[in-house]
């Protein structure tokens, strides 16, 4: 009897451990090239949408110029990414990462829509700082190391100085808005 209880406990523990292990490994599964392409496209589109809203709402010339640069640059990166996907016959594929990027983007956009004037400017720029920091982090830790196709990897690597330039630009605006 004791023996059988011990057996059941061991079995249950094993099952529990393996389930946890399966879950963590599923979450940490590196994205494939098709998923990486979709993450890039979604990340760019989200920032273009923030920019379009800012161009409509802001009265601050510097914030407007920044938002226009975001639209211009992220659209250019997206066009390049779409052209590359076509060239290497890669169909972008949704993943947990791209889905959460999209839903978080929609939420943030809804929040920003309710704001006006200086309050909007500050919230928009604060979000741009944290958003670009997050995107650079994902690019460094997940996208660049996991990209298999050399052209895709090169595109991601050339995207990095662009996002870093945007981050610096946003940080400078953040400082001037907080004065």
């Amino acid at each position: 009897m004791l023996k059988s209880i011990a057996l059941v406990v061991t079995a249950t523990t094993l099952v529990a451990f393996s389930t946890v292990h399966a879950q963590t490994s599923a979450a940490a599964t590196p994205p494939n090239d098709a998923q990486i392409a979709q993450i890039v496209l979604t990340a760019d589109t989200v920032d273009v949408d923030y920019g379009k809203l800012a161009v409509k709402k802001t009265k601050n010339a510097e914030v407007k110029a920044f938002a226009e640069t975001m639209i211009r640059d992220h659209t250019a990166v997206n066009e390049k990414a779409a052209a590359l996907a076509k060239k290497i016959s890669l169909t972008p594929e949704a993943s947990e990462t791209s889905k959460s990027l999209e839903s978080n983007g929609h939420k943030e956009l809804a929040t920003l829509k309710k704001m006006h004037g200086a309050e909007f400017d500050k919230a928009y720029i604060d979000n741009e700082v944290s958003y670009h920091e997050a995107v650079i982090g994902v690019l460094d830790k997940t996208l660049i190391p996991n990209a298999k196709n050399a052209d895709l990897k090169a595109l991601l690597e050339s995207g990095k100085p662009i996002f870093e330039s945007h981050l610096e630009h946003a940080k400078q605006l953040q400082k001037s808005l907080n004065k």
Binding site: T69, K80, L155, S158, P161, I162, S165, E168, H169, Q172
Partner: protein
């Protein structure tokens, strides 16, 4: 699944060994072969003849080379100096470089600046009055080269824009899209 691979590897190894043995055998054979023909004094002659041939070939090609360029000078395109200019590195100290530099003062040059990784490269350039600067966008995103005296407007990826500087001075400029992207053209 792993067995066939293993077998394949082993086969490869066996084949390699066999081939090595064959090569070794062939090498021994050829050594014996050479010994019998006594090729050594002959190979010395071959070396001498080849050496002379190379010497004369070099000599004549050098002569022809100078002759050829002299001929092209005689037949003469009018902008002679322009054709010799790009070969001369700025700052070189040979007699011809000095000569070219003297001529350089009157010959407008095109100086290239790349827009790459969100920077102007090189960020600071020195040119002569009359020189043209060409900016080429090697990034994905559009850029501009904008100062109070000149403005490229948007330069798309892989496109270029030129501006000729006719007055001396320092011209700081920037990309209007990316304020951190700055450069200076110094016109002497």
């Amino acid at each position: 699944m792993s067995h066939p691979t293993l077998k394949h590897d082993r086969q490869g190894a066996d084949y390699g060994e066999e081939q090595d043995a064959q090569n070794l055998h062939a090498a021994i054979e050829s050594e014996e072969h050479d010994g019998r023909i006594t090729i050594k004094p002959f190979s010395l002659w071959v070396l001498v003849i080849l050496g002379l041939a190379f010497f004369f070939a070099g000599f004549f090609s050098a002569r022809n080379g100078t002759h050829f360029s002299a001929a092209s000078v005689d037949s003469g395109n009018p902008p002679l100096l322009e054709s010799t200019l790009p070969a001369v590195e700025p700052g070189a100290h040979s007699a011809s470089a000095v000569q070219a530099a003297v001529a350089d003062a009157n010959t407008p040059a095109v100086v290239h600046v790349a827009m790459k990784n969100m920077k102007f490269d090189p960020a600071i350039i020195e040119v002569k009055s009359g020189d043209t600067v060409e900016w080429t966008n090697e990034d994905i995103t559009p850029h501009t080269a904008t100062a109070t005296k000149f403005d490229s407007a948007s330069i798309a990826s892989d496109k270029s824009w030129r501006h000729t500087f006719t007055e001396a001075g320092d011209f700081p400029y920037a990309c209007t899209f990316h304020p951190d992207m700055k450069g200076v053209v110094i016109v002497k």
